[in-house]
Symmetry: C2
Subunit: 300 residues, 2 copies
């Protein structure tokens, strides 16, 4: 195994860039190899001191790293995983940040060169690219971590899981949750992917509203801003598209909306009772309200 | 006309309570009559110094007030409007805060005793009741104000419009927008009511998710919190139910969601292009991100 402080981050956007900046601050002596298809991202990451060396994914010295983190959008991440694993040192640790875990972990399990540990940091903003990267992005965040797969050695797997947990704690995370990939995907369907698709659909409605759109923007109070903020994070869509629960649950959500519209027309009092109950339930969730990061610390 | 500084606020919840507290601070010598069906709200408003006298709506001395503000939920507001107008001094000003303006302004135009000026402050939180009232709730807010209707005197109408604008500026608003009631309702369909109904439907999906619900809450990052925050504000539902554009637009939104689900299944790349474009459009809106008040200043 190579120097234990040698980490490669493939994809230097918001998540990869933020991870590099966070690790740089907390891991003394860490050497970070950055890779991205966009030369500008590499330049910014080098200038920002986030990575020690940077270049294309093809040229990255992955064989010299004991830990590689895939931080690209979902579809390319799934596609490059086997090839990346094939270029790594035998027994090294490969991990990722994709918001859909079932298919990514399946791909990780299909090779036995490295241990693959699927992970998903529950953090993000609607900004993207290294310009929006922030060393505090993961501060207080929850990270979902899936069981190690791939290389068969039981001890190597266990160590790989510990290594990935330590990585995220070093990046500022507050909590690591061990999750089964399918259970993760079904849960993020409700926690993230459906809210995202609804937000995108509302933006689409607004864009098709003609004259009403300008006034709607003037009248948009916090509700619209909050509800559609997520729609600005295009990377969630890639994960949603890999999530096998999405098509049926998005159709079920559409059906709920349609039923609500019908009820408002036919029995408004019943609709209001239903909405009042849902409001009570939502308030009972007592979700924290302050940790969302809505402005990048390093915006241009 | 009675003392020009005598204002009645009917409904001492989040909006009425916040308005009373804000006016108390900015209008020297104002006398505020508070009315609410809930004796506890009256007690809290009296204790908090928000109102000078308080009691039931039936007992309120509306005839002695030159300005009455209806701040109850939408359906009772619409129902009580004619009776309230009938109890007021001839030529006085009646206004409201309902999030649907077309039907409320129609009701206001059906009487000629007072001038009715429909208004809608674009502010709120998911908390409710006087306990959540905050004198700064309207700080920086936009207020939609509709053309004065009712009492036919042209000069009285003009003065009533000015009076309502002044009221909201005194309460801390940043901007008053003159809007036609139907145009208002169509715009808030996109700005507020559809986001609200989508948020409520997502909460409903989560509640029906069985085992996945607990994990979904643990994994809920800012996206879920923000997207569903609006669902906690049950009062928006009342306004949405009075908005004639809602049933058809909610069905159209459901259809967009369904189409997106189908596309993710059949042509994921096309779906991702579409979502990427929507993300770009959402970011281009450059909505302010900091003025939302998510915590009540006076929570219990």
């Amino acid at each position: 195994m190579a120097d234990p402080q040698r980490i490669a981050i493939v994809g230097l956007g918001l998540i990869g860039g933020s991870l590099a900046l966070a690790l740089r601050r907390s891991l003394a002596g860490v050497r970070i190899v950055g890779a991205d298809a966009d030369p500008r991202a590499i330049e910014q990451a080098l200038e920002g001191g986030a990575v020690d060396v940077g270049g294309s994914v093809e040229d990255a010295a992955l064989e010299a790293c004991d830990l590689v983190v895939l931080c690209t959008p979902a579809q390319p991440l799934l596609e490059m995983l086997p090839e990346i694993a094939g270029r790594m040192a035998r027994g090294a640790v490969l991990t990722d940040v994709c918001g859909a875990k079932e298919r990514v972990c399946e791909a990780g399990a299909k090779q036995d060169r490295v241990v693959f540990v699927g992970a998903h940091p529950m953090a993000g903003t609607e900004y993207r690219g290294f310009a929006a990267a922030d060393p505090a992005l993961f501060a207080g965040a929850t990270i979902a971590v899936c069981p190690p797969v791939g290389a068969a050695d039981e001890r190597a797997r266990r160590e790989a899981g510990t290594r990935v947990r330590s990585l995220w704690m070093a990046a500022g995370a507050e909590k690591v949750l061990d999750v089964d990939p399918a259970k993760h995907d079904r849960a993020v369907t409700f926690a993230s992917h459906l809210p995202y698709l609804a937000a995108a659909s509302i933006v689409e409605s607004l864009l098709s509203a003609g004259d009403a759109a300008a006034l709607a923007r003037d009248l948009a109070a916090g509700g619209f801003r909050d509800t559609t903020r997520l729609a600005g994070d295009g990377t969630v869509g890639g994960a949603a598209a890999l999530n096998r629960f999405i098509p049926s649950e998005a159709r079920a959500l559409a059906q709920r909306l349609r039923a609500l519209a019908d009820e408002i027309e036919q029995d408004p009092n019943a609709a209001l009772d239903r909405l009042g109950n849902l409001a009570d339930e939502r308030r009972r969730m007592r979700l924290p309200t302050v940790s969302t990061r809505v402005r990048p610390a390093r915006s241009p």
